[in-house]
Subunit: 222 residues, 2 copies
């Protein structure tokens, strides 16, 4: 694929993790969120009780209520932790990359790398997408909107750079679909790693939008 910038660098696959939690409390919290993710993964949000969550995390039921108030709060914390981490890592990785296509490749790799390392979180986030209400829901919706917005901007940059025309909404949401659906079928033993996966999906997606957006012609039957 021809690229606007000379010899764009291969997208680095080095994991640039967010700085690890610092205090003992942070580490404990991260662990409890992992256990809670497991429970929501197994039982679904509706099917999980605070008792299940306390049992899985090894915390007393009273302690669970004291620190987390409700399972809704736990789901909120899981979602917040996930999206904040993904957005932080993405911003860090995008710093050094200017080529519009490469930036989209970075986006795809960052997303797949996180979710293939956290497949249970991916299922929980997909399934319990619409559970949170009120201020919890509003806050998570804002982070997700920011994330969606970043992807939209990356795509708009590509469109400008290459003079393409297509529906950004359908394209972005098709891309999220390709990436997020992975939790239903990915098997580490059969399938390639996140880097290879990201490359193949990026190839389909980028060539797809580049080719189908190229001719600003009248809609044709084909």
């Amino acid at each position: 694929m021809a690229s606007a910038s000379p010899a764009p660098p291969r997208v680095s696959r080095r994991r640039r993790a967010a700085p690890p939690p610092k205090t003992r409390f942070d580490r404990r919290l991260a662990k409890i969120l992992t256990h809670a993710t497991d429970v929501f993964y197994e039982k679904g949000y509706e099917g999980a009780s605070m008792r299940d969550l306390s049992r899985a995390s090894g915390m007393s039921l009273a302690g669970m209520y004291y620190y987390f108030e409700s399972k809704e709060k736990l789901l909120y914390l899981i979602q917040k932790h996930t999206f904040t981490t993904i957005v932080e890592r993405l911003r860090e990785r995008l710093k050094d990359v200017t080529d519009p296509e490469q930036r989209i490749r970075v986006f795809i790799l960052n997303h797949l790398e996180y979710f293939l390392a956290n497949q249970k979180a991916m299922k929980v986030l997909s399934h319990e997408d619409d559970v949170l209400k009120n201020s919890f829901g509003t806050e998570i919706a804002a982070i997700k909107r920011e994330y969606y917005r970043i992807c939209m901007d990356l795509l708009d940059n590509l469109k400008r750079a290459k003079g393409l025309e297509f529906s950004s909404r359908i394209a972005v949401l098709s891309l999220f679909g390709m990436m997020n659906w992975i939790y239903t079928w990915y098997h580490p033993r059969v399938d390639a790693d996140a880097g290879e996966m990201a490359e193949q999906m990026a190839n389909i997606f980028l060539q797809g939008v580049c080719a189908s957006g190229k001719a600003p012609k009248k809609r044709s039957a084909n």
Copy 2:
């Protein structure tokens, strides 16, 4: 996009529904399945009780147990009805179409048309994908495998016809991702109808796999 066959016909958007259920019992069953889909959609499979299901369908709880035995059986019937209908309609539609690209377009349109008309079923099927065990699970898995296999064959035909090389597994599952993710974002008032949606997704997907599969070259950084 150049096509192998001369002037391939525009994919017909006429709805060719499966023959409607014939007996009074069939109609009653179809209605109960619709109500049950609503309940699973609202509460999730784990969160739904037979009592909820009986209330929604206006059938007594005793009748519910008598005719359907368990909520597992209901979920099984919903899944079976959905996949059987989709596969039947697809086979019917594919009969008249020979061009490999057009056949994939027919597949995409058939899938989106069904699921945009039955968005709740789409969510329920996605979320409760792994709930069914034993013979229920085995039977549904077989129908789904058949459906997946059809898509795989369509893609393999395209690869042969155009001399393309790419991973059919990643391509097919990316396509399912693009299409199925729709239930999380589709708004009939904002978004185009199934026909337009299918056309745009087919453009991205087909041009993507055609372009990225064209050069049987060594993997490059871009």
